[in-house]
Symmetry: C2
Subunit: 158 residues, 2 copies
DNA sequence: CCCAACCTTGCCGTTTACGTGAGAGTTGGG
DNA sequence: CCCAACTCTCACGTAAACGGCAAGGTTGGG
């Protein structure tokens, strides 16, 4: 056990603008994602300000990556993340239940979700790779014609 | 040189429904893509029906792949394909010009476009791979905790 | 020539993923 | 306590990517 025990570092709570800026999103988008059930701020201030912790930011980063890089729709992302939010923060719930069977169920559930996410991404990679291969094929054809012209052309160019 | 020279097989001309169906798109989408300048039918019938050949269908297939698999916007796709349509069918234009310099320019242009497309796709693949790695990391962590519980759990389960 | 099935060009409707205020409340430094 | 900056919750506006319908023209088999 290290000195700073617990879930890594649960100290900082930031407001929506800072959280959004850190992952290059707008506050509006973050609120919209919440509206769709993709995440919930770790807490609210007395004045009802949304307060995010680092796991929230990580989640936002992941959401953005799924959207921008993988091109998934927010609906699909919601599917993939499902109520994982509840689980992640359900670290509390996880420790709350004494039932080891329940604990295993949660963990296995999580594992399955990871596997599914990985599979989705791998599938996408394969398709992209297929497109690369195809494009490379066409590129080769064009390159070949360039070579033809470069060896037969110069004679007529003289 | 084989017996059937020329651009592979320029015989069949199909109407929009058949073309769309072949690549699992709707006629509406195909028309919309045309409106955005992503492709132009090889010909029109007397009654102004759009008529597509196999290179058109290939193009549609590519567009759909870029959209569905790679997640590019139609605007980005338009960028990537630019006026490549003019070039592809500019096989005619290509053979029309006697200037070998012009021919080389066209070919090199095409090559550059292919290279750019490949680069875009490769970039996307790398990002997806990074996400896979990250997710696998988290998966491993969860799997580890499962193993912990599976070896320490059964004792309390007795 | 006739008709069902298909196509054409508008044009308005819809969903997704936000942008952009409006009006009111909250925070925090001076 | 005051005020600038930030945030809240509606609520309407918008661009992208089509769906769907209307009114009319085209195709092609019988």
């Amino acid at each position: 056990m290290t000195t700073k025990e617990g879930p890594v570092a649960a100290g900082r709570l930031i407001r929506i603008q800072e959280a959004a800026a850190e992952v290059r999103l707008t506050p509006r988008s973050v609120r919209y994602y919440e509206e769709l059930g993709l995440l919930k701020p770790a807490a609210r201030s007395d004045g009802d300000y949304r307060l995010y912790d680092d796991t929230d930011v990580e989640r936002l980063r992941f959401i953005k990556a799924l959207r921008d890089d993988a091109g998934f729709s927010l609906a699909e992302i919601a599917q993939m993340l499902e109520d994982e939010a509840a689980r992640e923060r359900g670290h509390a719930e996880y420790h709350a239940t004494t039932d080891p069977v329940e604990r295993m169920r949660i963990l296995h559930d999580r594992l399955a979700r990871f596997d599914h996410q990985i599979e989705m991404l791998r599938t996408k990679i394969e398709r992209l790779q297929a497109m690369v291969d195809e494009t490379e094929g066409r590129r080769t054809g064009t390159a070949a014609r360039i070579n033809e012209l470069e060896s037969s052309g110069p004679e007529s160019a003289r």
